[in-house]
Subunit: 312 residues, 2 copies
């Protein structure tokens, strides 16, 4: 197993990425890591943090895509950037997964255009983990890749989310809820109304019905499905709850779980190979988590499993 890591992505690159790798190795991580970045900047850090040459291979990149560059333009004009090289290596099979905390747009464009979609998938999706009050973890999707959706897409998100929850999060027979404005069938906007019957009839998921805003943190559903507009707003509100609780100097275990660094990054679901996108502010812990997620996605062949659902 070989995991590619963009060492130049994120606000604290490459230092925090190196520290994350150190943490991963300390926890007996065994994947081979391909570190893509500016060799001259990386070398002293790898020495300082005693990263053994047996665990990593450094691939030099001479360009960096900035956090605010236009994604397609940057990918086109910077073929020697760490993100471009990362996708190139993943596409041709030199690596089995690719992780970056860099330009989110460029990561999405790279995932969508340089990595094949899982067969049968209309559009890939991105998800986030949601800390539940009972200690568990839920999965919310889409969280921003698809701001406008058709019912068929939401139906696919439900399947992809279920497979991911089962294989990677280890949730047995995950319950799927449709984010909506009321509990009863027939409630909602046109999209939700049209999606409900599809989910109800879908044999590949355990549909539990509509869930409301108040249920998001209540583990009513393990997999929560909505279009990316609503999902993105929920995600950013949830992130802000952590900032607020810090600002209010509240020390609470549950609210601390809203620290999204705990979860590392967001996998792109529906593309054929694991691509994990980290937050710009990713620190060592986030990098370590992302490596762990990539590892698990490779091990469990979760993306292949998704493919089976759409082609059978």
């Amino acid at each position: 197993m070989n995991i590619g890591i963009d060492m130049m992505g994120g606000d604290y690159a490459p230092l925090e990425a190196v520290k994350g790798i150190r943490e991963y190795l300390d926890a007996n991580g065994t994947a081979r890591l391909t570190l893509i970045g500016d060799e001259t900047a990386l070398k002293p850090l790898l020495e300082e943090y005693k990263i053994p040459a047996t665990a990593v291979v450094v691939v030099n990149s001479t360009q960096v895509i900035g956090m605010h560059e236009h994604p397609t333009k940057a990918l086109k004009e910077k073929p020697e950037s760490s993100i471009s090289i990362g996708f190139h290596m993943l596409a041709k099979g030199s690596t089995d997964a690719f992780i970056s905390a860099g330009n989110t747009g460029a990561m999405l464009v790279g995932a969508l255009f340089s990595i094949k979609a899982v067969e049968g998938v209309i559009r890939p999706t991105i998800s986030t983990l949601i800390p539940m009050q009972n200690g568990g973890t839920g999965l919310l999707l889409d969280v921003g890749l698809n701001a406008d959706c058709k019912p068929e897409q939401l139906n696919q998100f439900a399947v992809m989310g279920s497979v991911y929850a089962q294989q990677v999060l280890g949730i047995d027979n995950p319950g799927v809820g449709l984010l909506n404005v009321g509990e009863e069938e027939g409630k909602g906007n046109l999209l939700a109304q049209a999606t409900y019957p599809l989910l109800k009839e879908n044999k590949d998921i355990n549909f539990i019905g509509n869930i409301e805003g108040r249920d998001v943190f209540q583990s009513k559903a393990d997999v929560m499905v909505c279009e990316g507009f609503t999902g993105n707003i929920i995600l950013k509100m949830a992130e802000s709850i952590y900032d607020i609780s810090r600002g209010q100097q509240i020390e609470n275990d549950y609210f601390n779980r809203f620290n999204f660094e705990n979860y590392g990054g967001t996998p792109v679901l529906g593309v054929a190979k694991p691509v994990i996108i980290g937050h710009g502010i990713s620190g060592a812990r986030a990098f370590r988590q992302m490596i762990g997620v990539a590892e698990k996605m490779i091990e469990t062949k979760v993306l292949e499993e998704m493919g089976k659902k759409f082609t059978s």
Copy 2:
């Protein structure tokens, strides 16, 4: 000024309504209150709480619309219910406002079909107050009446919200934000993309641009505009934050402000007379607040002010 109150609506009716009236009178409230409800149930409570006959008039109702009844059906089949009578009195001018914590659907149907819309308004809307971290209060709309919206409707919500924020909340030149998935113009789903230019060109509002989920509690905008699907989910998530902080035994002034009882009810904006819908769990404090909101809406002629924006 005469404010109609449904004494039979809500989980703790009529007791909490009576206690709310007591609190209102204790705070030197001077509006005349028309109490619509079961006379035999009300009389002993009004005596017990020493509500003077000079302050209130009791109008007997012999039917009650339950919390889970079908709104249109119930209003049709129960003309002697407190909600039906309340709207009848408001429509013919016997009262100047109507408050109920009863069946929300019936309240909305009553407001839309028995009270004229403000001239020029495409569809009325409902809003909620949002506690801001800086101590202020924001207004979010729509929060569920209009799950699917056109850009023109969001543009009208922006105007109605601005007038309400100015007149009733006392916010000078309120900033209007469009709820979206990114800050830049051009971001968002098709609705948000089409709404942005309308808000930008609207001379009746102080448009500050897009706001994201993380900005909802940050007083970036005083008036936050979205369709009712997203708004309803935000509202119910915000309500759940209070429940969570209570469940976690967090005693924090800011999180305590998420107790939506503080705000009483939700006025229906865009109908020609004040209609205020309370939460089913409304207690004394919520009733008192709702009477205060109705009073302020009558005093400031806020609904007339809205009308001027759409007819001039």
